[in-house]
Amino acid sequence: MFLHEIIIAGFGGQGILSAGRLLAYAGMLEERQVSFLPSYGPEMRGGTANCMVVISEEAIASPVLNSCSALIVMNNPSLEKFESWLKPGGVLIADSSMVHKKPERKDINLFEIPATELASEMGNKTYSNIYLLGKLIKVTGCVTPENFEKALYGILSKSKHQMIPEEMEVLRAGMDY
């Protein structure tokens, strides 16, 4: 069954929630069932932020996850909190520019990518989330890059559309890393 239960976690300001919304939007464009649940409240204001995204071929039971098939972490506390949530065989993508701890799990597929550094080298470190999403899309097939691009156009305000080609370049770099 096509079912992706994804958690993205890091600091507020790293584009955690935007990344989740983009995935959900792209999933919708693929006629999947989607849900997006952000953390809210004080944790968003400078603390840790996370979101849960489900992309499924069947009606989604719960948008609240207790485990996940894929996890993107962008800081140490997020790795500590969510590592145990990954299902065996699940995908863990860590921004190794920010996450200096090593995961303990041996039964998962680990991808360590210095995304913040690589995105800065490409001109904009705030695209680190996109870099990591590239890997996620490539490894899990949860959405296609084509629909991801459409999601960027769908979600970003018109004044930011000029940035999309650059973001897509970062996404492809992430896919190829």
Binding site: R21, A24, Y25, M28, Q33, V34, S35, F36, L37, P38, Y40, G41, P42, I60, A61, S62, P63, V64, N66
Partner: protein, 354 residues
């Protein structure tokens, strides 16, 4: 065709209200429902409506009383502590028999509590948090699409019975995004509003909207009228979903976002060879007693799951009247019951009854 959008629950409530013809919104911000206000602030002026951030929740609910008195569709929204502040106004609106819609996106209590999702205002919503013998109609959506459908319906029910209707959600529902399919055009039902105090131009007797009746005989008659209305609503407006109940060993009873978690539990249990069903009340008042009549003979037991210490479970027990065992599992304070929490209770019940 309609319009398919990925939207946040809170925003869908606001958009649905506008589509249903609501042109007056009065509120005061509080997490986790503030996006309703944001959306109203942006959209209301564009549709020629009134958005007003009141100086307090108490002011907002009394503005609702005023706008409703003129026969216009009006809404307010808040979260648990703010809803407590509005209780006096709610009682007055019930007493004056005014149609209005109120949204409670619940968070953990008591007191200021926290901001994470909860269902601990069930008693307050269904049994009357204010004084007097009154009820609101209470609707409990479980998805973003249902937030749309039921918000529109809340306005129709309010007008049909001249009653306050509450949308009772929680932080999960308010904050989550799902796909919503909006109809191209909303069919707005119209109702007789000849009771409204909207100016009589000396052409008719003036209408009086009040909740004060100092003669006890008159007040009793007024109350009998209210009770008759609640009976009629109980007959006509019960809504529920029965899911997987046909040969269930245990039927879970849950509403709102917890019902969604229960659907996940049902799938997981099926993989382990355990047959579970779900009875999901969509109206909490009127409580869907008809649904229990339909499935009473099927399971060995009922298990109520809530984000509270066990509030709706009291209505489940009152409805079942000891004819089947009723169990409870829940979390409090903003903690969400996990699949594991519920499954371990299911196994405990199974051991007892197998």
């Amino acid at each position: 065709m309609g319009q398919k959008l990925l939207m946040k629950g809170n925003e869908v409530i606001a958009e649905a209200a506008i589509r249903a013809g609501c042109r007056h919104y009065f509120g005061y911000p509080i997490t986790p429902q503030t996006e309703i206000m944001h959306y109203m602030a942006k959209r209301m002026p564009a549709v020629g409506g009134v958005f007003l951030q009141a100086e307090s929740e108490v002011a907002a609910i009394n503005m609702v009383y005023g706008a409703a008195s003129t026969g216009h569709r009006v809404m307010t929204s808040s979260s648990s502590p703010g809803i407590s502040l509005k209780q006096e106004g709610i009682s007055y609106i019930a007493g004056a028999q005014l149609p209005a819609v109120i949204v409670n996106i619940m968070r953990g209590g008591p007191g200021l509590g926290g901001i994470q999702p909860s269902q601990s205002d069930y008693f307050q919503a269904t049994k009357g948090g204010g004084h007097g013998d009154y009820h609101m109609v209470v609707l409990a959506p479980a998805s973003v699409q249902e937030l749309y459908e039921l918000t529109v319906e809340a306005f129709n029910i309010a007008d049909r019975y001249r009653i306050m209707t509450m949308i009772l959600g929680d932080g999960v529902l308010g904050q989550m995004m799902e796909v919503v399919n909006f109809r191209d055009e909303e069919k707005i039902e119209t109702f007789d509003k000849s009771w409204a105090a909207n100016g009589h131009d000396n052409k008719r007797e003036h209408n009086m909207i009040t909740s004060i009746h100092l003669d006890p005989a008159v007040l009793e008659q007024w109350n009998i009228g209210l009770q008759n209305k609640y009976k009629l609503i109980s007959q006509n407006e019960q809504r529920y979903e029965l899911y997987n109940c046909d040969d269930a060993e245990i039927i879970l009873v849950a509403y709102g976002s917890v019902a969604r978690i229960c659907k996940g539990v049902i799938r997981e249990a099926a993989e382990q060879g355990i047959k579970l069903g779900l009875l999901r009340p969509i109206t909490l008042f009127p409580f869907p007693t008809d649904a229990f009549d339909k499935v009473l003979d099927i399971p060995k037991a009922f298990l109520t799951v809530e984000m509270s210490s066990g509030q709706m479970v009291e209505d489940v027990r009152l409805t079942i009247e000891g004819r089947k065992p009723v169990y409870f599992v829940g979390r409090m304070g903003g903690m969400i019951p996990t699949v594991k929490d519920i499954m371990s209770k299911v196994k405990e019940i199974k051991e007892k009854h197998d």
